[in-house]
Symmetry: D4
Subunit: 150 residues, 8 copies
């Protein structure tokens, strides 16, 4: 299998789960192109105002940022072979669920990653997933199995 895989990592940005997956993949000798939205929260919120000019109205302030962020996320989800979506225990994380729905409608494979407590509220998202993981290690194990047959 010489073609490189692209994996989009979506969702929660307050823990180091992306780094854990990437390090696990590196340690296993996997050469995967991991991509994601801009994960610096402040930068991601401010990008509209910073680049396109100030907005007094909070709605348009957010709207400008979300348009720019979508350039990145839509393009990268479309390139991805697999989308991993992480739900944490804080915040609404509607963008994560939106990404999951978007990916599934495009026919992408989906892995969700969350604690057992979130099983019930995530049942529709999990129902569309190929695998439901609780730890980044499990995601790495799936990647090793899928890419290296081990």
């Amino acid at each position: 299998m010489t073609h490189k895989w692209t994996v989009f990592l979506s969702g929660e940005i307050h823990t180091d789960w992306r780094q854990q997956i990437q390090q696990g993949a590196d340690a296993a000798g996997l050469t995967i192109d991991f991509v994601s939205a801009v994960t610096d929260h402040a930068r991601s919120d401010e990008c509209g105002e910073k680049i396109l000019g100030p907005e007094e109205n909070k709605f348009w302030y957010d709207h400008k940022a979300s348009g720019i962020n979508a350039i990145r996320t839509r393009t990268l989800i479309e390139r991805a072979d697999l989308v991993v979506v992480r739900f944490g225990d804080k915040y609404r994380q509607w963008n994560a669920a939106f990404d999951a729905g978007y990916a599934v409608a495009l026919g992408k494979s989906l892995i969700t990653l969350h604690d057992e407590e979130l099983t019930h509220p995530l049942k529709e998202v999990d129902g569309a997933a190929n695998a439901v993981c609780q730890t980044p290690e499990q995601v790495v194990e799936i990647l090793k199995y899928v890419l290296l047959e081990r």
Copy 2:
């Protein structure tokens, strides 16, 4: 415009926003085919176990229900010309955001409906919407405008 519109109403199931939109549309003489997921919460949760047999494990209990519910929701979203997604102030409502992402990836028009307090957490979903409403009346006004030019 003789072809009937189909509008999928997704999201929050604890208030009567669907009825308000439907009644407003009826009052305006609009002939729209309103569709939605099964909105009876208990029935929607139990359908897997009731039809396909009991599961001790809560995860599989939910999984069976979500597979059956997806038969309905995916088919109806694909038929819809427009998807309206309502976010309330309670619960995680990840299925609503998932539906929004799914609809946008299929190229459907999207209207979101929520209170102003939810503007920031919903910025990515709102950013993909044609219109962001705060009341069911506004949704009805859009439908009147779009279908009847008034």
Copy 3:
């Protein structure tokens, strides 16, 4: 939900499961357009030779029939909202599994219907299904739930 559903019934042709589903749906007041391949085995095997002329070689005899049968099955699967595939305990039934793969790639919802003994050999097909049923009654219950919310 005024738009009629189309359900393609694929697979085993030696028991009356199609009639059971249809009668159950009728009894429940469901107005579904049930469609399927030509289910008269002899007719389905002979159609190529009968219409297009005899073939000594068994391979081409079958090939002619399968081309004609595909006109019907492909068109009806593409029209269907939902595909139900029944696997019995006899014969290879590779056409049933082929239909399932074809339907899933087109994004159709899938229900499989088979005895528990077939769970392991059907794991990839079941894995792509929204629901795995063991009796025609369960299929009818799903249709009632999905179309009538009961």
Copy 4:
């Protein structure tokens, strides 16, 4: 023709037909990216439980494995220019027929590979194929012809 071809080899895993095709292609100087599902039977059955945790119920044990295996097979079939599906004389091999249907619906070219005795039960699958082979050598000859014009 500088663009490399990707060929997905699906189906029977108990003989060395994949190796024969690969060696024949190597001997002919073809540079093809051959891909396939995980072909180690035990590993393929166990992957769900091993990675995601144990299941008492055999159905869910299989379900978890099949979700993970689908990440690999769906992605690789979508990348493939050509899918070769081998049917042996043992086992149900419904996954092979499912892959064939999936590939055809995506517009992929299809070659089937099986003994003459299987002609009748495979008539629908063969009817959708570009070529029906009885030996791995024939598949190699087709690849040589298609890629090298010899």
Copy 5:
């Protein structure tokens, strides 16, 4: 040909070309479903503010209106078999050219309607059209020919 045609009429809103086409089609006994954007200029500009609330900033004022108008135009262009785009001698009419590009990318047939003086600036749009007309009567003649073979 029992299936009714849907024709989207896009562009210039200051002359009665839409009425001329519709009357010509009626006179010829054609039963076509003519659709278009909301053609009342003031209403079309104001709809965002009127329904969703006032905006001081002219950019957001227009943005809200254009989101709502797109619900109508995108849905109707997707339904259409044929798109007719009229360019007049006044105003920029970029929305008309945008509709033409949108329609062509969706594989719709396109007729442009404009005076000879606009030939050069419209060369890319005309180059993508099935026919370039100078009068509404010519459009009607094409519809008669295409639907009635006269």
Copy 6:
């Protein structure tokens, strides 16, 4: 099967094969929506000049006609469930082969209809067909089988 079939009849216009198929279908009680290009040769050639004005250059004379004719043929092929293409023994009939290629790329079922002498030059077109017929009666028999199961 309550949904009506649409069948596009393409190709040769100098014999009454279309009428034979339509009468055979009527006699069998089939309710099919038969559609085709404008089959009046002179009218089809002249439509560009007649509607859009004269051209001295024969190339542009034909070009204008072919653009208008494509509005009809593309739309009707896209609507069709099945395309029947008839090749006669005279003329080049490249438009018939073009229609066949167009239909196959859209995933339509294809029947070719021609004498045995044309087998070799039509091998690529026949190779993409579900059935290769020599008489209109055979086409009618296929339609009866496919729609009525007889």
Copy 7:
């Protein structure tokens, strides 16, 4: 993110905005594949006549050129991840708006670039854009943010 981005620059050809964006991207260390239509106005107008032979009629003179130019623009827009469309204060620039519509229908991200005075006539095009810029520097800032997260 190892996959290179392709950005199509469409529209106005009388100022050096393309060079400014390219230089800004180079200075920021971005490795983007910038593509565009042939921007030499005379060459772009003459290409049909020069290559395919003279035309007395201005309409066909333009038609030949636009067919050739479309080979380049359609292919490059389809390859692009992002389309930037610049509207200047002179000329009709309908091809720019056509490109924008074409790109949006294909699901491409869109950035528009124009002065504030054009806000109202461009409201439909801007309404479909991810970002509306007034200077090439803003476009470069978006590219830096989207590709480099800064």
Copy 8:
């Protein structure tokens, strides 16, 4: 423009037009991936029998060959950015017209190449083309213009 173009050369195989285009492109410094069907007539006719075994019936002899040839042609047309189809003055060349229709339905750019005498019988194919050439040099000029802007 760093991405390489792929150009499929379809049709007539009895003159050296492919070589002329390739040499002209080389001389101009163009790095294009030219692809085509197997152009050795005898080999192309025999490939089915040679690889898959003899057929007495001429129809099936051709059918086997055409299935194998389609593996190559369909894959390469799908990869192509541009399809050039050459019609000569001999033979029926229905496969060339089929390829043209197939390519256009996939949204590929099309160039036709033929003598002026064939203008009328090719009007539908030419009508779908971006450019109609009479000499291989003209095709080379278009490639130079489209890729190098000269």
